[in-house]
């Protein structure tokens, strides 16, 4: 073949800005997924099953209804309450286990067993202890949040470089200086990773508790509306829970980048 030297193209080829391209692909995929959902449900499922067009139709009404708002508030408040209790206890116990060998030996078995098991198995027996009340939800959410935070802070404290403590000792640091001035800040990345896990577990625990104990909240809203063939309304609450999960996750990610710019996850 004769080699014709390729001349530079006269018109610059159209190249999409990478950010715009990414956004376009994501929106396109979203539309595709919604269309798939709509099509499959229309084709295969009974008419009461939730579909995007139905959800969009009921969305304004549900979101502006007082019932949905108060249910959402109850769930959000109890998740944050439980997370708060769980994180504080988790930090205290995790730090203690990480610094004191005897406490570690005493508690490790219990913490790791409860961490491994599905905690929601305890919800029914908790109704015998606390009755059909919001206490069940608070306890299970707090406990569910406590375990990952505790284990992660423990891990972080155990991995504290020995030199840090040696330097502190040579300056006659008191134990609380070592615990709260060195060990706790050094385990912050672990704490934040634990917090992400805790948030996920707290949401699952709250919804399960609402299902099984029939507590007012987004979980019960979903259960009730699904049982009365209001699947589209229920889907709105599912989306609200998903957004809550995403929001807590992004907040934790933001906090990691903002508070720990020095930390690079391996």
């Amino acid at each position: 073949m004769s080699a014709v030297p390729q001349s530079a193209p006269l018109v610059r080829p159209f190249v999409l800005n990478p950010g715009v391209r990414k956004l376009a692909i994501r929106i396109g995929t979203g539309i595709l997924l919604l269309a798939l959902w709509e099509g499959l449900v229309t084709w295969l499922a009974p008419s009461y099953v939730a579909r995007p067009s139905g959800v969009a139709r009921v969305l304004p009404r549900v979101v502006s209804s007082a019932e949905f708002r108060s249910d959402a508030k109850v769930t959000v408040v109890s998740v944050f309450e439980g997370l708060g209790i769980g994180v504080v206890l988790g930090v205290v116990v995790g730090l203690t286990m990480g610094r004191l060998r005897d406490v570690d030996a005493l508690l490790r078995f219990y913490v790791s067993s409860f961490f491994a098991m599905p905690l929601i198995a305890l919800v029914p027996v908790m109704t015998l202890w606390f009755g059909y009340t919001g206490t069940v939800r608070l306890v299970i959410v707090s406990f569910g949040a406590f375990l990952p935070v505790c284990l992660n802070v423990y891990d972080g404290t155990r991995k504290l470089p020995a030199q840090y403590v040696e330097v502190a000792d040579s300056y006659h640091a008191r134990w609380w200086n070592v615990w709260f001035g060195i060990a706790l800040p050094a385990s912050l990345p672990y704490l934040l990773a634990g917090f992400r896990l805790a948030a996920g577990r707290a949401l699952v625990a709250a919804v399960i508790a609402e299902y099984l104990v029939s507590l007012k909240g987004l979980g019960y809203f979903i259960l009730y509306d699904s049982r009365t063939f209001h699947q589209n309304e229920a889907a709105v609450a599912v989306i609200a829970l998903a957004l809550l999960g995403v929001a807590i996750n992004s907040a934790a990610g933001f906090a990691t980048r903002r508070l720990l710019p020095w930390y690079r996850p391996s």
Partner: protein, 254 residues
């Protein structure tokens, strides 16, 4: 204090912790009503009774079938989808935000919808378990396959590896340790999905044992079922950790 003495001390403190825990459990159980809490000895005898009558082994088997099938499907789909997303940029860019969103969604919220679409038999429960378990495998596989050293791929390509050979000889072996981290996390999530679907869809297995004995206020049997779930979970997590450590031996770098 020598290393050995330190170990011996923590071992004996651990044993003390176990004895103390069982003692407190026994004491509290003996001093509360039977309908709210059962003693350690009553729980152990209920466990023995349930095992001897064949009730517990049957429940265990039914739960494990659901768990194993769900975890297996979750691993296969998560692994393949993770690889495809890692290798094909447009699929990855498109799906990434939705995967992250589903990962953050409490999957229990979807159980009523799954009930409406698929009923409450085994198939629906299987879908629940898969939905719980798929995400950690997918995300860890994606992350692993994305971090393959580009030089490895270049070398393979310069020897004219086809895409399939590249997967088989470079990408999959490199990714497996990451996937196993995901598998360990998926085991925990599938257990939650298993219990949740047994509570909320057709009641079988270990979840059902908890429900029926709670309705009868028979706390000894409830606690025995919870105890056996805990033992099962600890065992499965141990297997998961073992797999992770085994595959971590050839993890590059880190």
């Amino acid at each position: 204090m020598s290393f050995d003495a330190g170990r011996r001390r923590s071992l004996s403190v651990s044993l003390l912790g176990l004895v103390l825990g069982a003692g407190i459990w026994e004491y509290v159980g003996r001093h509360t009503q039977k309908s709210s809490f059962a003693s350690f000895s009553a729980t152990v005898s209920a466990l023995w009774h349930m095992t001897a009558s064949g009730e517990l082994p049957r429940a265990l088997r039914s739960s494990l079938e659901l768990f194993a099938a769900g975890l297996g499907i979750a691993i296969v789909i998560g692994f393949l989808l993770g690889l495809v997303m890692a290798r094909i940029e447009i699929v990855r860019t498109g799906l990434e935000p939705y995967v992250a969103m589903l990962y953050a969604t409490p999957m229990v919220a979807l159980i009523p919808a799954i009930l409406a679409m698929f009923g409450f038999e085994f198939r629906a429960k299987l879908i629940v378990v898969v939905m719980f378990g798929i995400w950690p495998v997918l995300i860890n596989t994606l992350e692993g396959a994305r971090s393959v050293n580009p030089e490895l791929i270049e070398v393979a390509k310069s020897y004219r590896s086809k895409e399939l050979q590249l997967w088989g000889h470079v990408i999959i072996p490199y990714t497996l340790p990451f996937t196993m981290t995901g598998v360990r996390q998926s085991i925990a999530r599938c257990l939650i999905g298993m219990i949740a679907s047994e509570f909320l869809l057709s009641a079988n297995g270990l979840g059902n044992l908890i429900l029926i004995y709670t309705q009868r206020f028979d706390t000894a049997h409830v606690l025995a079922a919870v105890l056996s779930i805990t033992l099962l979970a600890t065992l499965l997590m141990g297997i998961g950790r073992g797999l992770e450590n085994y595959f971590a031996r050839w993890k590059v770098g880190v």
